[in-house]
């Protein structure tokens, strides 16, 4: 889970406006904000995006999106949001996250997340596809529990 940054475009006072971060779910665009730095849960680990990052399209895993230095807030303030898989497109200083589920940080609830995890684990899975699907759901639920506990 190594944090990767583009060294030439790191979050510094000279970076100007920063990056635009958009989180879209099938129901609505839940977040559209300007920030200094965005940290994403890619399928193989966390990755940091600053201004001028090289364009890429990636697959997301389940985990926390951390948005640092939002416009209108303190420079070191971090907004957290949980995303369950999906995709990210980075280009032209815009980070577009397309995910099927997004939980804003203020709605993290460790108790209900743990209950969801237990519920997933209690359902037996038969067959390769079902086992794979259950493993994915379990991993996502575990990530949400971790995120919620970290906040607490």
């Amino acid at each position: 889970m190594a944090e990767t940054k583009n060294p030439t475009n790191a979050n510094s006072p000279t970076t100007g406006k920063g990056v635009r971060c958009v989180i879209t779910t099938p129901e609505a665009t839940v977040l559209d904000t300007q920030a200094q730095f965005v940290s994403l849960p890619l399928f193989d680990g966390q990755r940091g995006i600053g201004r001028g990052h090289a364009p890429f399209i990636g697959r997301l895993g389940a985990g926390e999106v951390r948005i640092t230095g939002e416009r209108g807030g303190a420079a070191d303030a971090v907004r957290r949001s949980f995303v369950e898989g999906g995709f990210v497109e980075v280009g032209q200083d815009t980070v577009t996250i397309i995910t099927q589920r997004s939980v804003p940080g203020e709605k993290f609830d460790a108790t209900s997340a743990r209950a969801d995890l237990e519920k997933i684990r209690s359902v037996p899975a038969r067959g390769d596809d079902a086992i794979e699907s259950r493993m994915r759901s379990e991993e996502a639920a575990r990530s949400l529990v971790r995120a919620a506990e970290r906040r607490n």
Partner: protein
Amino acid sequence: MAKARALDRRRKSVKNIRKITRTMELIATARFKKAMDRSVASRDYTTRLAKMLENIAATSGGDGESGVAGFSHPLLEIRPTKRTAVLVLTGNRGLCGGYNSNVVRQSLAILGQWKGEQVGMHTAVSGKRGISALKFRGIEMDERYTQFEDKPEFDQVAPIGRAYLEAYAAGEIDRLDVVYTKFHTIARQAAVTETLLPLKPPEASGSPADTKPAHATSAIGGQDYDFYPSAESILEEILPASFMARLFKCFLDSAVSEQVARMVAMKAASENAGGLIKDLSRRYNRARQSQITGEIMEILGGVEALKK
């Protein structure tokens, strides 16, 4: 007096009905606005997903086998139809003009077509109206959903979509048709049958990438994208997401169309009630006037008789 009283009673009853239809029209208008807002908000997801597909196609389209052109996925595979799935989306409630009956008619046509071709069918119906109409016509239903109202949520639709994806991957179904009311504009909605599975390949999805030459990266601002882990792997994940988004859109379109249909039907009913009240008032006034005239004539006749 009996006729005038009956007319008055009827007029009062029509007035009460008009109050109800007027209220229903206002409720449908409010719900339509909310449903429309949800539908518009959800477009962003589809647009961004399509744009991402377009960028993948434009960047990796010319790479031969590794590009989108040579990409194959089980969801894109067109198989001979041995067993098909049909999902019919209707409303739980009536009083919405031809909304439910149009969808039922459309679904009967497609079910009849598959029956004629002796193809096995898995039929799922959403909405009490559709369920009762198809039951009346002796159609066997494998799944019935009544939980969808004017605000279908993605979490409700996702399990249905996942079940179809799994059935398609397992070879239990070779095709999925959704019969629903497509929302074009506020003045035009039409019952349509849309084939969601097999999916259309990315090139054919209407993206500008299909008309571009292979080296069209300059068309997207000269950006050459990196892919994590690879373009194929992302496409593999995007296709099911794209299917889910399309299925969700069908549910949202149905919800919006139902509210528009109810709004229009109730507006017409209120106007009709207004016309009826006008007609009944005229008839009531005439009946009352003729009754008064008759009574005056009777009094005059009595006076004349007394004079003699």
